[in-house]
């Protein structure tokens, strides 16, 4: 299941139950709670930056009470870098170092801003650790 599919599903489910669909740049903490229920945990990174943590390590990032990012684990074929290379084939991607290789395996981000998708993967085994969704630009 890819991220956009997830949000589409959320959108459909939300409509059929009368809850507001979640949208980057618009949804608030109240919308997320109304959609997903109470989070397992909230982390206040800064006064205006908050993370809501749900089951399976799903995280909603809010800046000034507006949803900006959704973090989740990869599923099925999403676990392989090749899958994302294929998916981003027509996208101008950037490879960004997140964590230097001070110890053993570095951590990288492959970012496709046009699709509002990033994947975080580790050096050596090209294993996708996290999928991050945000507003496409």
């Amino acid at each position: 299941m890819n991220g956009h599919f997830f949000f589409l599903l959320l959108f459909i489910t939300s409509c059929s139950f009368g809850t507001k669909p979640l949208q980057f740049g618009q949804s608030t903490k109240a919308d997320i709670v109304s959609n997903q229920g109470q989070p397992q945990k909230t982390e206040l990174i800064k006064s205006n930056l908050e993370i809501l943590v749900f089951e399976n390590d799903q995280k909603y990032q809010l800046t000034d009470d507006v949803l900006t990012h959704y973090w989740r684990n990869p599923e099925g074929e999403e676990k392989f870098l090749s899958f994302w290379k294929k998916k981003f084939e027509n996208c101008l991607t950037e490879k960004i170092t997140i964590e230097d290789q001070r110890h053993v395996a570095g951590l990288y981000e492959l970012k496709c801003q046009e699709m509002g998708l990033s994947v975080i993967y580790s050096e050596g085994n090209d294993f996708i650790e996290r999928v991050v969704e945000y507003e496409a630009r």
Binding site: E43, I45, L49, I51, K59, Q61, T68, H69, W71, E77, K79, F80, L81, S82, F83, K85, K86, F88, E89, C91, L92, T93, I96, I98, E99, Q101, R102, H103, V104, A105, G106, L107, E109, S118, I120, S122, E123, G124, N125, D126, F127, E129, R130, V132, Y134
Partner: protein
């Protein structure tokens, strides 16, 4: 011949008869197995040899410490132990300086083919330096400029034991300061500054005896490197471990204390190697690090915060207030915690005493140190278990129960035992105890790297422990002994025990574990299962059965049997290499036409090392692997009889080779394609640039997208982005 008349022998005779009949039993046992197809792999494997080091140790002076074997002679014996196990034939080809690899012994050829280009001064790569050398220690000692040095032997021994090397060259891989050989941070350095000192090389030798289990089998390691003397790594660390297989150590990691047997050296080396353990275990289970798995995070109370700020993703490790830390450095991250836990467990076990964190201790001991303990009475318990020579000691103790036992006890008193023994029996037990304690002590000193140090510093603790242990041991033996008559009756109806040195059972157990995830645990369980099945026929009591099984497992440790099976499999597979290569090239050809098929990526085994392949082709190749393995094994079956476990092991081996060959094939094709892309850029650069107007360059993203769309190069093993994005960004669309 296999049956013994009761009235003719005493128990002692019965026991010696058991030993005397070992070969006959082996024959008997093997004869029973002949109805089955005999394992081909076992046949190839059965060339067991007794370690020369073990032989030397057995003959050594009682008071000698293992450290006294740190000499050319001792190191040569250790080296011989590994070299004796080398395949007699190999297919390393080519020349290295004056040497023809084909004519060299297996390990020398293997060493040169992998590390021959990484020796000494890499600026000159002058192989004439080694012109009168035929052996690996000699190559290294030429670099040190001292042909009598022990260092060359330690370098080679490390390679033999662990499969990778302690570097002796002037290029530090991976570190920013060392782009060119002999230059560190822009300053020219002497080769000598990159070489480990004699004391440090001793430290490596000692570490080779300290590390156990997980640290001994690191597959991704290439080299342990030394930063030039006086230089440091950035980031305030003394050492670094890299997933590409390098551990880099600087001066501040390589410090010894008052003696060469203690100091930060051991801690930091094992710490860095533990990062590789963490990485390899994580990778094997499709993760980044083992320490990031939920069970470890639950134990250590780490959690991850992730967020994006100003376009930058930030991932940080935090911990809950209830977290307990093994050291201040372990607070940094789960992976530092992991490395600290493993290194301190071996080098500074006292930290665990003060920490009082049994869950962590159990995890480290059982998963990474073969269940061994290195502190206090637990270490004594392990040693006694390993060295008390159960059979012999049991015989001697049992002899004390005979009415002929004589003497007056000065050591044991009646109250030391639950059972009542006579004064003469106690005296006999005292003698047996004192001699066995002495024997154990000298064996521990000779075979355990920290044996001398621990027994010297904890001499009275050791005596107290063994004095408490011995009565318990005697009590255990006492019970069955009183049923001696019954036992002798049973002896009449059973053949003697299988030979401890017979390795067929161990090989069989290993073969049965081909597809097990936890191979070591599986091996031990299989062995117990097989032995129980056999021992059941002998009507032994529980203690005897357990003793025999433990002894057999000690005789055939997982690591040794695993190496032997792998070498045998490798030997058989070597004969299939031309066919494997053939299969890969045919598969490639036929799957190439599938490349246009858009498919979901299947979970495949071919490692593209961060590269890319079209999904249709990738899936097609992955699907070919099991088919090809089956074909090749069927071909082998026509030539040789294979048992089902042979077939399983060989299929796995062939399949691994196919995966590796396909990975290599991919790398070659991908680099050829990258070269073609370079050529394409050179050829079309001007033409493309002419299509990009200064106005277009103002909108960077649109410009890049347009430029990429104008590139007509058809790539199969890269995405267009991989091949052309830097060119588009830096040359075509740069404002």
């Amino acid at each position: 011949m296999l049956f013994i008349q009761k009235e003719m022998i005493s128990l002692k005779e019965w026991l010696s008869m058991k030993l005397a009949n070992l070969f006959m039993i082996l024959f008997f046992f093997l004869s029973c197995q002949k109805k089955e197809i005999r394992s081909y792999i076992i046949e190839v494997s059965q060339k067991a040899q007794v370690s020369p080091l073990k032989r030397a140790l057995a003959q050594a002076d009682d008071e000698a410490c293992l450290e006294s074997f740190y000499s050319v002679e001792g190191l040569k014996k250790e080296i011989a132990f590994f070299e004796e196990r080398a395949p007699k034939q190999h297919d390393f080809k080519g020349r290295w300086g004056h040497l023809n690899l084909e004519e060299l012994p297996f390990y020398t050829a293997k060493f040169l083919s992998k590390y021959g280009d990484n020796l000494g001064d890499l600026r000159t790569k002058d192989l004439s330096l080694y012109k009168d050398c035929q052996t690996v220690p000699c190559f290294y000692n030429k670099i040190y400029g001292n042909e009598e040095s022990l260092n060359g032997y330690v370098h080679y021994l490390w390679f033999l034991k662990f499969g990778y090397v302690i570097a002796a060259d002037n290029k530090i891989e991976k570190e920013e300061g060392s782009f060119r050989p002999g230059i560190w941070n822009g300053v020219e350095k002497d080769l000598k500054d990159y070489l480990f000192s004699d004391e440090e090389m001793y430290g490596f030798w000692r570490t080779s005896h300290l590390i156990k289990d997980s640290h001994e089998t690191l597959k991704s390691m290439n080299e342990i490197q030394r930063l030039p003397r006086g230089e440091a790594l950035s980031g305030g660390v003394c050492g670094r471990a890299w997933s590409s297989g390098y551990v880099n150590l600087s001066d501040s990691c390589l410090i010894f204390k008052e003696s060469r047997n203690a100091g930060y050296f051991y801690y930091s080396l094992i710490h860095e190697l533990s990062h590789i353990v963490d990485y390899e275990e994580g990778r094997a289970k499709n993760g980044r690090y083992r320490s990031h798995f939920d069970d470890f995070l639950d134990l250590t109370k780490f959690y991850k915060t992730e967020y994006e700020e100003n376009g930058v993703k930030k991932i940080k490790w935090k911990y809950y207030p209830e977290a307990i830390f093994i050291s201040p450095y372990s607070r940094f991250s789960p992976q530092e915690y992991f490395a600290e836990s493993l290194s301190r467990y071996r080098v500074s076990p006292i930290d665990y005493e003060t920490l009082n964190f049994p869950k962590l201790e159990n995890l480290v001991r059982d998963s990474y140190y073969k269940g061994l303990s290195f502190k206090g009475e637990n270490q004594f318990e392990d040693w006694v278990k390993k060295y008390h020579e159960k059979k012999t000691l049991a015989e001697l103790v049992r002899a004390c129960f005979s009415p002929e036992a004589k003497g007056e006890s000065t050591l044991f008193k009646e109250m030391d035992f639950v059972k009542n023994f006579t004064e003469t029996q106690l005296s006999c037990l005292s003698d047996v105890f004192l001699s066995s304690q002495k024997e154990m002590k000298s064996e521990i000193k000779m075979k355990e790297i920290d044996g001398c140090e621990v027994l010297q510093s904890k001499s009275s603790e050791w005596s107290n422990y063994t004095q408490r242990w011995f009565p318990k041991f005697v009590e255990k033996l006492d019970e069955p002994l009183r049923e001696e008559d019954k036992k002798e009756e049973r002896v009449q109806d059973k053949p003697p025990l299988p030979n401890l040195e017979d390795d067929e059972l161990s090989l069989k157990a290993m073969l049965n574990c081909t597809y097990a995830e936890e191979k070591k645990i599986c091996y031990q369980q299989e062995l117990v299962k097989i032995l129980t099945g056999i021992l059941d026929q002998y009507g032994l009591d529980e203690l005897e059965e357990r003793e025999f099984t433990e002894r057999y497992i000690e005789f055939h440790p997982y690591e040794e049997v695993s190496i032997r099976v792998n070498q045998s499999v490798e030997k058989i597979i070597q004969t299939l290499i031309p066919e494997i290569t053939d299969h890969v090239s045919h598969s490639w050809e036929s799957c190439f036409t599938e490349k246009e098929k858009e498919e979901m990526y299947l979970e495949g085994r071919i490692d593209l090392k961060g590269g890319y392949m079209k999904s249709g082709m990738m899936n097609c190749l992955n699907r070919r692997i099991p088919e090809a393995s089956k074909k090749l094994i069927n071909g082998l079956k026509l030539k040789t009889k294979l048992s089902s476990s042979d077939e399983a092991v060989l299929t796995r081996g062939v399949s691994d080779h196919l995966v590796k060959e396909m990975g290599d094939f991919y790398s070659q094709e991908a680099s050829a394609e990258a070269q073609r892309a370079e050529d394409w850029i050179t050829k079309n650069k001007t033409n493309l640039a002419s299509k990009i107007t200064p106005k277009m360059k103002k909108n960077k993203t649109n410009c890049q997208r347009y430029a990429l769309s104008r590139i007509t190069f058809e790539a199969n093993y890269h995405t267009k982005n991989d091949l052309f994005y830097p060119f588009v960004r830096d040359q075509l669309c740069k404002p």
